[in-house]
Symmetry: C2
Subunit: 199 residues, 2 copies
DNA sequence: AGGTAAACTCGACTCAGTTCGAGATTTATC
DNA sequence: GATAAATCTCGAACTGAGTCGAGTTTACCT
């Protein structure tokens, strides 16, 4: 039934996640020990492992949630009356801002999602969310005549996604530091894809 | 001068690197402990830290070397009489094959190089090697009239580099498993950049 | 040759993530 | 309501990366 146990579990889980994210944000991921998290959350260290398989997973889970939230907000507020390029820029910039809001979180998330130890469902689902959206965008763009009719939408999604990843790598390599720069470069790159670079 | 000491150092260093790479290859990176490496190399654990700042650096150094070697081979055997697209494909495929030869090594190298803890000189140098070459390619292509004359070569380099990184991420996410597939997709993506996707 | 300083080596230690297993708490069964 | 079964909890132990500092070797100088 309802269950005292179930209720307590949710509570404990939330306490651990909250404590962990708070500490990670304030002290950094590496500087926060599992003992720190345990005492902040008021549980034993081993208890944490009943809820999260590893230290990484605590905030990976959290990051993923935040990314989904950011995207849902975006979907609501986004008008459909703009060119697909503007739409893509808005879409990727939301993601970009969300993922780099905390530099360290973003770095760890990207490492795990783009170059995973093994291709788990978690990773595939995460990526699939992007691709579903992007393929939708290109279907619309095709109907509107904004792009050539015989293009592979999966390939196109991969193309724009790659550029987004490249910009993230540029960010983490300190090739740029301002979101404005990122957007400017993103626009240039996207235009390049649109118009081609050959005479 | 010449030095018994210097000679021994080189010998020790090589012993450590050889033992480490051998163990990493056979047992995997995580499953190999520093103690394992130390006893295989016939030195004390702490000695390793006199040669390499951390476990990662042992094979990061090795990977980087291999990448440089692969590139030098490439430069020698590559004809200049092919289109810049074919040149880029050959270039990136060499890199791709070299970096994914050992799946785990490549993964760790990419994580470290693309999303580094902090942008160290090592990382910048590593990336700069790519960009120098790419910018050179585009200069030639521009002179030959293969690309439009007013393009930013740095941006172009970033564009193709991003596509390469995207393909790597696809590889690690198991979207493809054969080098032939990678090359095929790479060609499609590169053609997309050349001709544009707009009507 | 002998002495000294610098460089090298490594056993022992610390520190943090993860696992174990025994005891406590809740739920299910009769 | 008692008892068994399942689940949850956490102190203690384990593991492996990285550090420390004392002991050893080598290079250089006079």
């Amino acid at each position: 039934m309802g269950g005292i146990r179930e209720q307590k579990k949710q509570q404990t889980r939330r306490a651990i996640e909250t404590a962990a994210i708070d500490l990670f944000s304030r002290k950094g991921f590496d500087a926060t020990s599992m003992d720190d998290i345990a005492s902040a959350a008021g549980v034993g260290k081993a208890t944490i492992y009943g809820y999260f398989p590893a230290k990484d997973d605590i905030f990976l889970h959290y990051c993923d949630d935040r990314l989904v939230t950011a995207f849902n907000q975006f979907k609501e507020q986004q008008s459909a009356d703009i060119s697909f390029v503007e739409y893509l820029i808005a879409f990727f910039m939301i993601k970009f801002a969300s993922i780099t809001e905390n530099r360290e979180f973003g770095r760890l998330l990207l490492r795990e999602m783009l170059f995973p130890r093994e291709a788990t469902d978690k990773v595939r689902d995460h990526n699939q969310r992007y691709f579903d959206i992007l393929e939708g965008v290109f279907s619309v763009a095709e109907k509107r005549g904004e792009i050539l009719p015989d293009l592979d939408h999966f390939m196109l999604s991969g193309h724009f996604f790659s550029l987004y990843v490249g910009l993230l790598a540029g960010w983490y390599g300190c090739y740029f530091n301002q979101l404005e720069e990122v957007e400017q470069n993103m626009r240039t790159l996207f235009e390049q894809v649109c118009h081609g670079i050959k005479p």
